[in-house]
C-alpha cells in the first residue's frame, strides 16, 4: 500500500525526460528553421545605436562565432542540450552581456510566489464551493449564486485582469497599476516592502483566482454527486453524526482526491494564463521578461523562459503522479499485484 512499483516509477521518469527533451528540441529547432539570422539582428541593433557600422562583414562573422552559429548544426544542438541541462542559455542579446540564467533567476521567485499563492487560494475556494453546491443542507442562496458566479469562470485571466485593473487601479485607484513593488521602497525583508508586495500582488492574484476556481468547483461537484450516494455516507447519517462533520470528514475528504490529478492536467494552461496576467500588470515575473524579450527579439531569453516554464510544468506533473498513490490508497498501478 502506497509503495510505488518500479515499473510505474520508470514509466513516469521516462515520460518526464521525454517531455523535457522534446520541448527543448522544439524550442531549439524552430528558430533554426526560420530565415531570421540572430547575428544580423544584433548587427542591426548596433547600426541603430551608432548610425552606421564599419566592416560589417567582419563583425557579422565575429558575432556568428561568438553565438556559436558558424558550427555544424549537430554540434550546436549537443552544446545547446548540454547548456539546457545546466540552465546555461548563453547571453541575452538585448541586455548584453547579462546571462539569460541570471535574468530568469531574478524573475522566477515572483512568478512562483504569485502562482503558489493563487493556486492554493483557488484550490481551497473552488473545492469548498463545489462541495457546497451538492450538499443538501447548504442554503438555497449558495445553490443559486455559485452556478451564476461560475459562468464567469470560463473567461481567461487576462480578461478578468483587465477589468479588475480598470475598476480598482485606474478608476478607484485602490491598487497600483503596474509592477510588483513600489518604486520608493527598498527590496528587503522589511515590513514596508512586504506590504508593498502584497499590495501590488493582490489584483493579479485575484484576477487568476476568480476565473479558475470554477474549474475546481465543477470537478468537485461531479465527484460529490458520486460520493453522496455511497453507503458510508448513509451509515454516517444513520449514526446521527453532525451533518457538517459528515460533509468535511466523510464526503469532501473522499471526493477531493481525484481533483489532485486534475491539477496535473491543468497546470500547463494555468502557467500560460499567469504569464499573460503578469504581462498586463507589468508584474516583475517571467511574463514581463518574456514580453520584453519578444519586443527585442531576444531569442536566448525567449528560449530560456519557455524551457524553464515547461520544465517546471513537467516536474510538477511528475511529482503529483508520484505523490498520488500515497494520498489515495485506493489507486493501484498496473503491475502492482
Amino acid at each position: 500500500m502506497g509503495r510505488i512499483p518500479r515499473s510505474y516509477l520508470i514509466n513516469r521518469v521516462i515520460t518526464l525526460l521525454l517531455t523535457v527533451w522534446i520541448a527543448a528540441t522544439l524550442i531549439w529547432i524552430i528558430p533554426r528553421l526560420s530565415p531570421v539570422d540572430p547575428a544580423e539582428i544584433a548587427l542591426g541593433r548596433m547600426a541603430a545605436g551608432a548610425g552606421s557600422v564599419a566592416n560589417a562583414d567582419e563583425i557579422l562573422a565575429q558575432l556568428r562565432a561568438s553565438m556559436g552559429i558558424d558550427q555544424p548544426l549537430l554540434i550546436q544542438y549537443l552544446k545547446y542540450l548540454g547548456g539546457a541541462l545546466t540552465f546555461d542559455f548563453g547571453l541575452s542579446t538585448a541586455s548584453f552581456p547579462t546571462p539569460v540564467s541570471q535574468l530568469i533567476a531574478s524573475a522566477l521567485p515572483w512568478t512562483l510566489g504569485l502562482m503558489i499563492l493563487s493556486l492554493v487560494i483557488t484550490f481551497v475556494i473552488g473545492n469548498l464551493l463545489g462541495a457546497l453546491m451538492v450538499w443538501e443542507r447548504s442554503p438555497n442562496l449558495v445553490k443559486v449564486a455559485i452556478p451564476a458566479a461560475m459562468v464567469f469562470t470560463s473567461i481567461p485571466p487576462i480578461l478578468s485582469g483587465l477589468l479588475l485593473m480598470w475598476v480598482f487601479s485606474a478608476q478607484l485607484q485602490w491598487f497600483p497599476l503596474t509592477g510588483a513593488y513600489g518604486l520608493t521602497v527598498e527590496p528587503g525583508w522589511t515590513w514596508s516592502f512586504v506590504q508593498s508586495v502584497l499590495h501590488h500582488g493582490f489584483l493579479p492574484a485575484v484576477s487568476i483566482v476568480i476565473v479558475t476556481f470554477g474549474f475546481w468547483a465543477l470537478g468537485m461537484r461531479g465527484l460529490m454527486i458520486t460520493v453522496q450516494g455511497e453507503d458510508y455516507v448513509k451509515l454516517a447519517e444513520a449514526k446521527g453524526l453532525r451533518p457538517r462533520y459528515i460533509l468535511y470528514r466523510y464526503m469532501i475528504r473522499n471526493a477531493i482526491l481525484p481533483q489532485i490529478t486534475a491539477f496535473a492536467l491543468k497546470i500547463g494552461l494555468l502557467v500560460a494564463g499567469q504569464v499573460l496576467v503578469e504581462r498586463i500588470f507589468a508584474y516583475n515575473g517571467m511574463g514581463k521578461l518574456l514580453y520584453d524579450a519578444i519586443l527585442d527579439q531576444d531569442f536566448p531569453v525567449i528560449q530560456g523562459i519557455s524551457y524553464v516554464i515547461i520544465l517546471m510544468t513537467a516536474v510538477s506533473v511528475f511529482l503529483v503522479d508520484l505523490i498520488y498513490p500515497f494520498i489515495d490508497p485506493r489507486i493501484r498501478h498496473e503491475g502492482d499485484t
Binding site: 522544439l26 498586463i280 515547461i310
Partner: protein, 310 residues
C-alpha cells in the same frame, strides 16, 4: 404520446407534461440552447455586419481618434456620434468594424484548430485502443508527453522567429497541441467498451473492425466527443488570444486580441478609453461563456446524474 387523450387538462399539468417531454430529449437542455445562441449571436454579428456596415473603417486613420461610444463623453469632452456607434480607437479605427472583422476570426481559429485536433485524436485514440501493443505504448507516451507542454510557450518561440503568420497557419500550429486530450479520452473509452456486451456481439457476428469502430462504438462516444471538441475550441481561442495579446499572431488582420494589445500599449486604461479594450474583452467573454454553457449542457447529456440538480 398516446396518453394525451386522457390527460388532465389543468394548466399546471400541461406545463409539467411539456417540461417532461422537453427533458426527455437531453439535447434540448436550456444550457446548451443558451450557449449555442450566444455563439450564433457572434457568428451572426460577423456575417450580417459585413453587409450592413462599412468595413473600410478598420483602416488606420479612417475615423477621428478616440471618440467614445454613443451616449458617452471622453476626457476631451467629445460626444459619441452615430457614425461610429461603438467609438473609435487611438489609431482612428471604428470599433464596430473592428469587432465585425475580428470576432469571427477568433472563432474560426478555435474551430479549425479543434477540428483538426479532434480528427487526429479520434484516429489515434481508436488505433491505440484497438491495435494495442507497441503502437498503443507509443501513442500513450506521446500524448502524456505533449499534454504537459503548454502550447503558448512553444508558439511564442515559433512566432517570434517567423514574425507574421496567417490565421490558418496559426490554427494549424495550435492544432499540434490540442489532439492529446481527445486521444486519451477515446483510448480510455475504447478500452472499456471493447469488452462490453454489444461490441463482443458485433465481433461474434463477424462485423469488420472499421464497422465496429465507427458504426457501433463511435455513436456512443458522441457526447464525449462534442464535450472534448468544445473544450478544445476554448483552449485554442485562449491560446490564440494569448499570442495576440503578446503582440504576436497575425499582424495585418484585425483580431480581438490584437486590439486589446494595442489598447494596453497605448495606455488606454489610464486614459479611460474603456471602449477600446472593453468591447473586444466583452465579446471574448461572451464567446467563452457560450462555450462553457455548451460544455455544461453536454456534460448533462453524458452524465444523467447531473440533470437532477438543475
Amino acid at each position: 404520446m398516446t396518453s394525451t387523450d386522457q390527460s388532465p387538462q389543468t394548466r399546471a399539468d400541461r406545463a409539467t407534461a411539456k417540461r417532461m417531454r422537453r427533458f426527455d430529449n437531453p439535447w434540448l437542455n436550456p444550457k446548451l440552447i443558451w450557449g449555442a445562441s450566444l455563439l450564433l449571436f457572434i457568428i451572426a454579428l460577423g456575417i450580417l455586419g459585413r453587409f450592413v456596415w462599412n468595413l473600410d473603417l478598420v483602416f488606420t486613420g479612417s475615423t477621428p481618434l478616440k471618440l467614445p461610444p454613443v451616449g458617452f463623453e471622453n476626457l476631451r469632452r467629445q460626444e459619441g456620434v452615430w457614425d461610429y456607434p461603438l467609438g473609435t480607437d487611438g489609431g482612428g479605427r471604428d470599433i464596430l468594424a473592428l469587432i465585425i472583422m475580428g470576432a469571427p476570426n477568433s472563432l474560426f481559429v478555435g474551430m479549425l484548430a479543434s477540428l483538426i485536433g479532434m480528427s487526429v485524436g479520434i484516429t489515434l485514440g481508436f488505433t491505440a485502443g484497438f491495435v494495442g501493443g507497441r503502437t498503443d505504448d507509443t501513442i500513450r507516451i506521446l500524448s502524456d508527453v505533449m499534454i504537459t507542454i503548454p502550447p503558448l510557450l512553444i508558439l511564442v518561440v515559433f512566432q517570434a522567429a517567423y514574425g507574421d503568420v496567417s490565421l490558418t497557419m496559426m490554427a494549424l500550429l495550435i492544432a499540434c497541441f490540442v489532439w492529446q486530450s481527445p486521444t486519451r479520452l477515446i483510448r480510455a473509452q475504447v478500452l472499456s467498451m471493447r469488452t462490453s456486451g454489444y461490441v463482443q456481439m458485433a465481433q461474434l457476428s463477424g462485423a469488420s473492425t472499421p464497422h465496429i469502430m465507427f458504426r457501433e462504438m463511435l455513436p456512443n462516444l458522441v457526447p464525449y466527443l462534442f464535450g472534448s471538441f468544445i473544450a478544445n475550441v476554448t483552449t485554442s481561442i485562449v491560446t490564440a488570444v494569448g499570442l495576440e495579446v503578446l503582440g504576436l499572431g497575425p499582424q495585418r488582420i484585425p483580431t480581438l486580441g490584437r486590439t486589446i494589445y494595442e489598447a494596453i500599449n497605448a495606455g488606454a486604461l489610464i486614459q479611460n478609453l474603456w471602449w477600446w479594450w472593453g468591447i473586444p474583452t466583452l465579446l471574448l467573454a461572451v464567446m467563452f461563456i457560450g462555450l462553457l454553457l455548451i460544455n455544461l449542457g453536454l456534460d448533462e447529456i453524458s452524465n444523467p446524474r447531473l440533470r437532477k440538480l438543475s
